[in-house]
Amino acid sequence: MSNKKSLVDIPTINKIARLSRLDIPEKAKDNLIKDLNNILGFVAQLDEVDTSSIEPLASVTGHKLPLRSDEVTDGNIEDLVLHNAPEQSSGFFVVPKVIE
C-alpha cells in the first residue's frame, strides 16, 4: 500500500468524483486532496500487519445465508413505489433522456 505511492491528485479526484457521480467544485478539490491523502496515509499502517495466511472476514455473524421460499408476497404497490418520486408519468419514473 504505502510503497504504491498512491497519492491522490486532481486527475484522481476527477476520476473518483466521476465514478461516484459527485459534482465537486474546483475550489473544493485542493482541500479534498489534502484530506484524502491524510486519511490514506493514516490507513497505510495496515501494511505493518502480516496477513499472508489470513482469509478476509466474510461475515461477522458466522451464520449461513437464510433462504426464502418462492412465493409472491410483495409488489402491486405502484402508489407507494412512486409516492416520493420527484417526477413520474403514467406509472413510470421520469429522468432526463439517455442516449445509448
Binding site: M1, K4, S6, V8, T12, I13, I16, A17, L19, S20, R21, L22, D23, I24, P25, A28, L32, D35, L36, N38, I39, L40, F42, V43, A44, Q45, L46, D47, E48, V49, T51, I54, E55, P56, L57, S59, V60, T61, H63, L65, P66, R68, L80, V81, H83, N84, A85, P86, E87, F93, V95, P96, K97, V98
Partner: protein, 487 residues
C-alpha cells in the same frame, strides 16, 4: 408537570401502569420539555399530534388492563430510522422531502410494545461523524455546560443530548463505530450497542452494512434493558439478522458480578487519553473488584489497527449504500441536461462535505488497482481483530475500557477529519468484531463534563452486559443532571 420528567423509563413504566399519571400527561410534559430545550437543536421533527394520539391510545389500553412493556412511554427516534408518514432525512439535504411509506422493524417493535413517538432526532449526516456537526440543519448542543456550546458527540448526538436534556424519556440510536456509545459518554447517559444482528437493520438508512446496529440511549442501565427487550428480535426481512433468542433482560437486573472475570486491555490506556478519564478508569476497576469480580490484565494486540480498518471498510460500504440517493425515485432532485448531470448535481448538492469525503474514500479503496491493498487487506486485519477478542474471551467474561479518550470538545473547532476520527478509537474495535458493548456515565471531569466507561461482552451476552454495567452504575451513583436539561 416538570415533576413528571424525573421518572426514568423503568419508573415511568411502573407508575403509568399504576395510573399515577397518564401517558397524555407524561407526553405533554415531554412536548413542553422539547420546546424549552429547543436551542439545543436536538429535534428535527416533532410529531405533537401523533404523539398525543398514541398517548391517548395507550391510556385507553391501560384503563382496559391491556398494557405492553413500553405502554405510553414517550421516545425520540434518531432520524436514521424510517418512520411511516413522518419525514425521515438522515439529517441530510438530499432527503429533505422524504416521507417513508413504511416503518423500520425496530421502531415498529417499539410501537407494538406501546411506546409513544415524540419525533425525529438530529444526527450526523447519514450517521457519519462523531460530533453531530455534520447535520444539514445545524449543530446539536450538549446540554452539559450548555453555554460553553460543546459537542454532544456523534453520530447519535441528537439522541444522546435529548435524553440528557430530558426532552425524551429515552431514544433510539445507531452505532457503526461508536455512534451510540461515544455520544452517551459525552452526554452522561447510558448507550448500548447490541451484538451485530440482534436488532434488525430493515428500514434503517444504511451507512455501513456490516457494522450498523440499532440500540437504546437511556438514563439508566435498567432503562436500556427494558428498551432493548422491545427493539431486538429476529427479522427474516434482514438476511444478517441473528436468529438467536435473547432472554428477558429484566431478569438480569441486580444480578451482580461476583466471580466474573473482567479483562483490562493494556492497549486501551494509550497516550492521548485525558487524565481524568484514566483516573475514573482505575476507580471503575476497583469498583468491580470490590463487587467480587476478578480483574485480569489482557492484551488485544491489533487494537491500534482498528481505526484504519474501520476507515477503509465503513466508507467502502457507504460509497455503495449511498449510490441509491440519485434523485430518480425519491429525494431532492437537482435537474440536469443529462442523466449523469442530474446525478452529479443532485448528489453534489444534496450531500455534505463529510459524506462526500467518505464516499470518495470508499470509492477509491474499492477501485481497480486498490481493492487488494486496501479493502481486502482491511478485511483480513478485521479477522485478526475479531480473533483477538475471541482469544481473550476464553479467559474473561467482560472487557472494561474507557468509552472515549477525551470528554466533550467545543463545537466548531474545525478539526481536520483525521483528528475527528480518533474520537472513535475505543469504540471501533467492538464494532468490527460485532460484539455487544455499553457505555455508562461514571462521573464528571474537572471542567464538569461527563465521563463514560465502556464494557464489552461476548457475542449475544447482552444479559451479562446489563448485570455487570449495573454494578458500575450503582458504584458510580451518577445522579447529576445536565445544566441544560429541561426542568
Amino acid at each position: 408537570m416538570s415533576d413528571l420528567l424525573k421518572y426514568d423509563l423503568l419508573q415511568a413504566s411502573k407508575a403509568i401502569k399504576k395510573k399515577d399519571f397518564s401517558s397524555v400527561e407524561l407526553t405533554n410534559a415531554y412536548i413542553k420539555a422539547i420546546e424549552d430545550t429547543s436551542p439545543l437543536g436536538t429535534y428535527l421533527e416533532i410529531v405533537k399530534d401523533k404523539a398525543l394520539n398514541m398517548a391517548a391510545n395507550s391510556d385507553k389500553n391501560i384503563s382496559n388492563g391491556v398494557s405492553k412493556p413500553l405502554e405510553g412511554l414517550p421516545i425520540g427516534i434518531k432520524d436514521m430510522f424510517c418512520t411511516k408518514g413522518t419525514k425521515t432525512t438522515a439529517s441530510s439535504k438530499i432527503l429533505d422531502n422524504f416521507y417513508p411509506t413504511y416503518e423500520s422493524t425496530v421502531t415498529q417493535n417499539l410501537w407494538d410494545d406501546g411506546a409513544v413517538m415524540l419525533g425525529k432526532l438530529s444526527c450526523d449526516e447519514f450517521a457519519m461523524g462523531s460530533s453531530n456537526e455534520t447535520a444539514a440543519k445545524g449543530n446539536v448542543i450538549n446540554p452539559w455546560l450548555k453555554d460553553k456550546k460543546v459537542s454532544p458527540g456523534g453520530s447519535s448526538g441528537g439522541s444522546a443530548a435529548s435524553v440528557a436534556a430530558r426532552s425524551s424519556l429515552a431514544a433510539t440510536g445507531t452505532d457503526t463505530g461508536g455512534s451510540i456509545r461515544q455520544p452517551a459518554a459525552f452526554c452522561g447517559i447510558t448507550g448500548l450497542k447490541p451484538t451485530y444482528g440482534r436488532c434488525s437493520r430493515w428500514g434503517i438508512v444504511a451507512f455501513s452494512s456490516s457494522l450498523d446496529q440499532a440500540g437504546p440511549l437511556t438514563r439508566t442501565v435498567g432503562d436500556a434493558a427494558l428498551m432493548l427487550n422491545s427493539m431486538a428480535g429476529y427479522d427474516k426481512k434482514d438476511s444478517t439478522s441473528a436468529n438467536v433468542e435473547m432472554p428477558n433482560l429484566m431478569d438480569y437486573l441486580d444480578k451482580g458480578v461476583k466471580g466474573k472475570k473482567i479483562g483490562i486491555p493494556k492497549e486501551y490506556t494509550q497516550n492521548g487519553t485525558s487524565e481524568d478519564i484514566v483516573k475514573f478508569y482505575d476507580t471503575s476497576i476497583s469498583w468491580l473488584k470490590d463487587a467480587g469480580a476478578e480483574i485480569m490484565p489482557i492484551s488485544l494486540p491489533h487494537t491500534k489497527y482498528a481505526l484504519p480498518v474501520y476507515y477503509i471498510i465503513a466508507p467502502a460500504e457507504a460509497s455503495s449504500n449511498l449510490a441509491r440517493y440519485d434523485g430518480v425515485r425519491f429525494g431532492v432532485r437537482k435537474e440536469g441536461a443529462s442523466l449523469d448531470e442530474m446525478y452529479e448535481l443532485t448528489r453534489g448538492n444534496g450531500f455534505g462535505d463529510e459524506v462526500k469525503r467518505r464516499i470518495m474514500i470508499g470509492t477509491y479503496v474499492l477501485s481497480s488497482g486498490y481493492y487488494d491493498a486496501y479493502y481486502l487487506k482491511a478485511q483480513k486485519v478485521r479477522r485478526l481483530i475479531k480473533q483477538d477478542f475471541e482469544d481473550v474471551f476464553e479467559k474473561v467474561d467482560f472487557i472494561l475500557t474507557p468509552a472515549t479518550p477525551t470528554t466533550a470538545f467545543p463545537l466548531g473547532q474545525k478539526q481536520d477529519p483525521l483528528t475527528m476520527y480518533l474520537n472513535d478509537i475505543f469504540t471501533v474495535p467492538a464494532s468490527l468484531a460485532g460484539l455487544p458493548a455499553i457505555s455508562i456515565p461514571v462521573g464528571l471531569d474537572k471542567s464538569g463534563l461527563p465521563i463514560g466507561m465502556q464494557l464489552i461482552a461476548k457475542p449475544f451476552d447482552e444479559a451479562g452486559l446489563i448485570s455487570t454495567s449495573q454494578v458500575l452504575e450503582k458504584s458510580a451513583d451518577f445522579k447529576i443532571i445536565a445544566d441544560g436539561a429541561a426542568k
